[in-house]
Amino acid sequence: MMLRRLSALLLGCALLVAPALVLAVDDPSEMLPNPQEEARAEAIGSQLRCLVCQNESIEDSSAGLARDLRRVVREHVAKGESNSQIMAWMVQRYGNFIRLSPPFSLGTLLLWSMPVLALLLGLGIAFFSYRTRRTTPAAPPPLTAEEKARLASLAKNAGQHDTGRPDTDQPDNGHTDKGPSA
């Protein structure tokens, strides 16, 4: 009795884990008898979009159309067609949209070159900010007479502030940046 319960529990656990291990090929009769051909069919299928649930491959999806397309892929593989031949067959019917990774073309130029462009942009920004940081302190513009006067008054005010009231909560009368020039 106990043993039977234990084995039922183990079987239940195995059934729970099993779906995570396999792809959506839920019917073993779908699979090709030759494991090499089956592996090739799975590789092709994982590059084909299921057009019903658009972000899944036909190998991952359990939609009816995905199952039909899986069968088509396996038939073509069994006939000995190459991967690119099968891909072309699919693209002729469903367009490039069926390919999960779009081919390089004028329309996808921006998409494919984006990582390189982003890297170049980042390097450019880094280079220019590094250069400006290095060159700016080298050439501070000389102060005008007006600015010098304002600086002097500010320094005077700040001096009063620092020495007059070190740590009090009183209203801050001396702390103002309105110099006589303002």
Partner: protein, 191 residues
């Protein structure tokens, strides 16, 4: 004092850049959303590569109560025909039927029952009315794949010579027929 105006210019430019980017994004989103509302833009649409190509090689056997057809029949056409994939198990197809019944006087409709038992498809047409002059059965869905359909209902407008002129992956409604299909039909008849 040559530096402050230069700095101010740069600062203003930097302030304006995010605003300009937000404005461009806003206009883009507005166009997309208004297009979605009008029905001229559908992000889930599958851009059928079959457009302006001859119909694929296929043939569908008879589906009661009609007669089957194939690529030759469509390529021999001199007048436009609407080919509609439907199924008795498909609720949007049922909802589309009154529209097709109203359309059948304007142009011939040819139907293909997609992955459907012949007796179910026949019962469906008995119940909803039969708008089709020719009827074929695509039991295993292979013809549907050759046409590049991703579900039912899907509709194709076949021009003279069997060239696919228009495709809809959504059920036909009065707006689509009046706004898109009829003007297209007029231009096909003229040429």
């Amino acid at each position: 004092m040559s530096t402050p105006p230069e700095n101010m210019k740069r600062r203003r430019l930097l302030m304006a850049a995010p605003l300009a980017a937000a404005a461009v994004a806003g206009v883009g989103f507005w166009k997309m959303l208004s297009g979605m509302q009008r029905g001229s833009f559908n992000p889930h649409d599958i851009h059928a590569p079959v457009l302006n190509r001859p119909v694929p090689d296929f043939s569908v056997p008879d589906q009661a109560p009609g007669q089957g057809f194939g690529a030759q029949d469509l390529r021999a056409l001199t007048q436009p025909v609407l080919v509609n994939f439907f199924a008795s198990w498909c609720i949007p197809c049922l909802a589309e039927m009154p529209t097709l019944m109203a359309l059948k006087d304007d142009l011939p409709l040819w139907g293909i029952a997609y992955k459907d038992r012949p007796e179910n498809a026949a019962g469906f047409l008995k119940h909803s009315g039969n708008p089709f002059t020719r009827l074929g059965s695509d039991r295993d869905g292979r013809v549907g794949i050759d046409w590049g359909i991703s579900g039912v209902p899907e509709t194709f407008l076949i021009g003279p010579g069997g060239v696919i002129r228009w495709h809809s992956a959504a059920p036909l409604d009065v707006d689509t027929i009046r706004g898109t299909l009829m003007p297209l039909l007029e231009s096909l008849k003229k040429s």
